[in-house]
Amino acid sequence: MSLLSVKNLSTRFTTEHGAVDAVRDVSFEIQPGETFCLVGESGSGKSVTGLSLMRLLSQSTASHPAGQALLNSPRLQSGAVDLLRQDETAIARIRGARISMIFQEPMTALNPVMTIAEQIMEPLMMHLSMDETAARARALELLEQVHMPDPATRLKEYPHRLSGGQRQRVMIAIAMACEPDLMIADEPTTALDVTIQAQILELMAELQARRNTAMLFITHDLSVVAQIADHIAVMQQGRIVESGSRDQVLYRPQHAYTRQLLAALPSRLKRRTAAHHVDSGDTVVNIENLKVYFPVRRGVLQRHVDDVKAVDDVSLAIRRGRVLALVGESGSGKTTLGRALLRLVPSTAGRVSFRDQNLLSLSARAMQPFRSALQIIFQDPQSSLNPRLSIATTLTEPMAVHGIGANQSERLQKAGDLLLRVGLEPEMLRRFPHEFSGGQRQRIGIARALALGPEFIVCDEVTSALDVSVQARILALLDELRSEMNLTYLFITHNIDVVRYFADEVAVMYQGRIVEHGPVVQVCDHPNHPYTRKLLAAVPRFD
């Protein structure tokens, strides 16, 4: 008998503007001890499914017009219970004890004003009625099981002292505390670096095997799925379009949508032909010994005691018409380097040469003409457009400042052409950012960077917040634009698969320094530096 059997689950949100069915007629079964992956793009209803099972959705807006979710836990005296039809007290006894949950964002999932010990002990004392000493001993044991370094000291600390990976370990410890039958993990590794992701996945598999815990793993990342899943269900627009065993779904997909998702994976995409582009040998931007230090000040007199070396003595030549990928984990200084080039972050020392000028020594006024030649596209399409300005204003204001176009109507014409070029409609100029989807906003961000006719664009994690299918289309667009307008990209990313597909050269950054730099094929296939090797090994493989 299966542990959890979900039949015809639907979840409806009642909003001011009518009802929205986020989940429709979803059925699946999870066996004890197996890993069941729910895959889908954003808005597909996969997270809502998980939250519905935990009954964590707001009762005032969410309802379940149909369906049942039978939990058949061997440790429940009452036999199988329908999670959707339990009252608040009954579900509270199940939550945390029989089913537990791990969230995506480890930075916000822990309570910042409670110590680690208190947060692990709370469910133990609640559900298992342990006394304080027993709970504390158990908490220590749990931290050891999730391989937390120095667990005894960590117990007394507050969450802000821990790194993202360590916090996720604490979250897992809390989720495992009462030895649940089912663990729902909602994108638990998405916010983590690949090397940390590999460690966390390994840890979850280990704990799962030890206790025979079943796992509902919600993710958008098919490479992760390929590594851990027993069964897979693919969701699209609130429905499950395909489900089956891992090998069936990933290697013999039946549904068109599943095939489309698999085809959009960067590791499956054919490497850009233009990657073998002629190398003119001409350097556009030359970085010499660039240092960006953030001073650490202490005491009443704000004494300068130390520096955080975000970028530490980096030299890099970016050649015309090429795509140079800058790869590194969070905190490696890659974003700071990209912004320091454009003088969005003040640099401490070094030279950035562009058209025989050192950009770093120019006054703000002298920098002005170079602003149009050097542009940037950002990661988060949510925050990269001013929510209060129409698209027309966002695009034409910089043009006016740089004297592009004789009058406003000419600039509007040009802005409309740009939107057309990036795959949008000129009529959209009158709209505001909130009327667009993430992918569309990213296209507008690209149009804004192109508006001033740049030579060099810093692409800062431009596809990280996007779904794979959208990512594939945005990358294709960037590639077309590059050859059409003879652009040069500094492509900052953490995704090795995207680098393989898209870049000509790659520079690997680690703790503010460039540890390896060379052609993509050479670095990816024959890495020299130990860090590069570790990074490449941690990338989930799927072929």
Binding site: F13, H17, V401, H402, E435, G438, Q440
Partner: protein, 394 residues
Amino acid sequence: MSEVAATPSNHQSETFSARVLRQTIASNGARFGLAWIGLVTLCAVFAPLLANSHPLLMRVGGNWSSPLLEHLTWIDTTLLAAFFVGLGLWMQRRRLSGSRALLLMMVLVTIAGSISYATVSPPVAVVLDQYRTGLADGSIEEAIFVPIAYSPTDRSRDNPLSLTAPDRLHLMGTDEDGADVFSRMIHACRIALGIGLVATGIALAIGILYGGIMGFFTGWIEILMMRFLEIFESIPQLFLLLTVVAFFGRNIYLIMAVIGLTSWPGYARYLRAEFLKLRRQDFVQAAQASGLPIFSILFRHMLPNGVAPLLVAASFGIASAILAEAVLSFLGLGVVDEPSWGGMLNQAVGPGGTFAVWLATYPGLAIFLTVFAYNLIGEALRDAIDPHLQRPVS
């Protein structure tokens, strides 16, 4: 994020300001607040047409004339002009963008104000008793009065009598000078509204400029500006007001300016905090990367995104400015000629220890309701802006 989504359904195509406005108006508290402020505004604008001793029309020797219109001051005409310009622009709001409408309004009102100032000159010496004696002895053959036939400064010791309790002739009674309380209540709306708007306007203007600069620049500029702000905050407003009134006399504009000049640090702090947050946003970085001028980055890209908490603070600020004026007037240091609610409260207790209930009740209630109304609006605004109170929409 799927690229095909973005169905332009109702709530998605709504701008932030439109949503905030809709949600603010949806709350009952704000509706009451806005209704009361609207009533006070109407009273303030149409005060001379609601309560006036001058007849609207009178016939002397067979000729009709309108002493009321002849005695309008330039302030009366400017307020009326501003009201109708505002109403006209509101009707045309679909064709005009918000900022353009505001600019047009300011220009038109300034023009109307200067024309009124130059052309409108009511007679200086006014004897309000002339109409009553004229009607009594028949030299005025016929006269049509506005609903309340008493000017706020129509002081006559015998008709009307001083300190009469409310009756059919004087709905809210008379004060110790014999002036009609209802009339004074209506005319006092001007000070109540004006003090709140002008003082808060001054404070907002300084606060936005100061806070914006503080929030965008770091280092020594910010540290110095912050210390100066702290010095300013340590000045007690009421004592400064008392001192200024003692030295420079009871001038309503001076009082407005002092309240404005002492209450900006709060707004500057709010805006600084907002700007510190916004400065790291990608769209601000993008504006910098495009080489936009600093003025545009600060006031076009950052300010509209950070102004919301300021508006909440401002609606509470208006309320406290009204209270400050009421306190001054209550202490007998307010304006002399113009009626003000606080000043009327002060008159409730006479020199001999007599207590006129009607003189305490009506102005007290008006002050309470106005302050309450602004607080309700501020609260509704805050709820509409606060993202934590938003209902999750999947």
